[in-house]
């Protein structure tokens, strides 16, 4: 059986350091397996959050060799094991202990977004009718497992710490899911521009790269929202066209 060395960040919000742990590895192991093995055999006090081990709960988010990843979905066979594998907590959020971060800011942001407000029901029994082509687009966004890796990798949050001005890719996708929903009647465009800071996104596509659900965050979510903001605030020809259409429809 072969072995691999893991440099795991140990500490709290005040200070910390990398510590080396060498552990046995086997075929099919993921980083989370190794971390749990280290926790069981060498570092009983190592804090690590995990739940499903199937890439669906979004709990085991961390940075493996400098890139945000779900530990349970990162196979050791994908990593260069001849060098130590670094495992750190997400850097965009405050550390609680070791690999566990406080992601509660995300939930506070979510509460501020205008909720789903459907049009009146289509049928007398209080139900609605939707076509598949209308819902395909938002179904992609509903795959989000809220692992917050996209928030972690976004340089606006990670490097510039604009938590008060920018809601981050996760919540832009959430707004997209609501805004493009065929039943929804709310208008969130003004908030997107003014308080949610969509203009801070400079389309580096890092969020798309790290998404474990392969959601095309930038191309299918953020850019279409930016275009809706352009419709509303930066397109005089579009305003003229819409005005003309309204006039002709009278």
């Amino acid at each position: 059986m072969s072995t691999a060395t893991f440099k795991i960040w140990r500490g709290n919000s005040q200070n910390g350091e990398f510590r080396d742990y060498t552990t046995e590895t086997a075929e099919g192991m993921v980083v989370l397996d190794a971390v749990i093995q280290i926790q069981a055999t060498q570092a009983r006090d190592l804090a690590c959050r995990w739940n499903c081990k199937a890439g669906k709960c979004g709990s085991c988010s961390a940075e493996v060799n400098g890139m945000p990843k779900l530990m349970c979905m990162t196979r050791l066979s994908e990593l260069p094991l001849e060098k130590p594998v670094t495992v750190e907590p997400m850097k965009a959020f405050p550390v609680i202990k070791d690999l566990v971060t406080d992601v509660s800011w995300n939930f506070r942001v979510k509460k501020k977004i205008k909720p789903f407000k459907p049009r009146p029901p289509d049928a007398p029994d209080g139900t609605w009718r939707m076509q598949q082509e209308d819902i395909d687009r938002v179904q992609e966004f509903r795959k989000c497992i809220e692992c917050f890796l996209c928030q972690d990798v976004c340089h606006v949050l990670r490097d510039h710490q604009m938590y008060e001005k920018f809601i981050g890719p996760r919540f832009l996708i959430h707004v997209a899911a609501l805004e493009m929903h065929p039943l929804d009647t709310q208008d969130r465009i003004e908030e997107l521009r003014n308080t949610q800071g969509i203009g801070y996104c400079n389309i580096t596509k890092c969020c798309t790269k790290v998404c474990p659900e392969s959601i095309q965050i930038t191309d299918n979510g953020i850019i279409p929202l930016k275009e809706r903001v352009v419709d509303e605030f930066y397109d005089p020809l579009g305003w003229f066209w819409k005005g003309l259409k309204r006039l002709l429809n009278r």
Partner: protein, 260 residues
Amino acid sequence: MNGATALPRRSFGETMRADIWWLQPLFVFLGLSTFIVYSTWAAFQGKNYFLGNYVSPFYSPELFGDSPHSWFGPRPGWWPYWLIFSPALFVLWAPAGFRVTCYYYRGAYYKAFWADPPACTVGEPRKSYWGERSFPLIMQNVHRYFLYLALFFLIVLSIDVWKALWFRDGFGIGVGTIVLAINVVLLGGYTFGCHSLRHLVGGFLDQFSRSPPCYRAYACVSCFNRRHMLWAWLSLFWVGFADLYVRLCAMGIWRDFRLV
């Protein structure tokens, strides 16, 4: 962030990434720089941009100029005598604006030229950040206007390909014809995959089922959009090569072969 401890800011280039993260931004930097240098040089030449029925895409539509392809005759009298004259200067700003404001290129050159960030999870050189919310980058929102111009240019370049099929002795196909035709195909793939076009043809709708033509157009643009980066690079390379081909043929360095 409530209750958060301020994280230490990483220095420029600092990262825990173990891969060669700088390779992609370096290629983007070199690729775009090469194109900018060459296209600027070519635009200011003002000569060797046509050969018979071929005209360089950098100079088309030729609004004013000395070639038979000119729309409105030679250099206008109002053009200042002290200013370099080149037919490309009247038109090249439009496709350049389309690419500069393109969503793909924005992400690419923010990384490669401005290190904002240099690559994902790599430390940045500056503390301040304005994004695309204030001047000058708020001007990126004009992208759809450049799209309208790009669609017009696509029609003009298609007409150039048609003209490139007609030689002095009648119909024919030369290597130059194929070079110009490939240019239109690649520019078409790039333009028809534009994110703004995707929005304008149907993406603005919440209920596609109410407008099947818009839905079909949206699906079609989405198909091109999935490979937008690839189309962007192929079309960039080829439009430069098409100019070089016409230029070298016009200078007599290369000879255009008639295939048909």
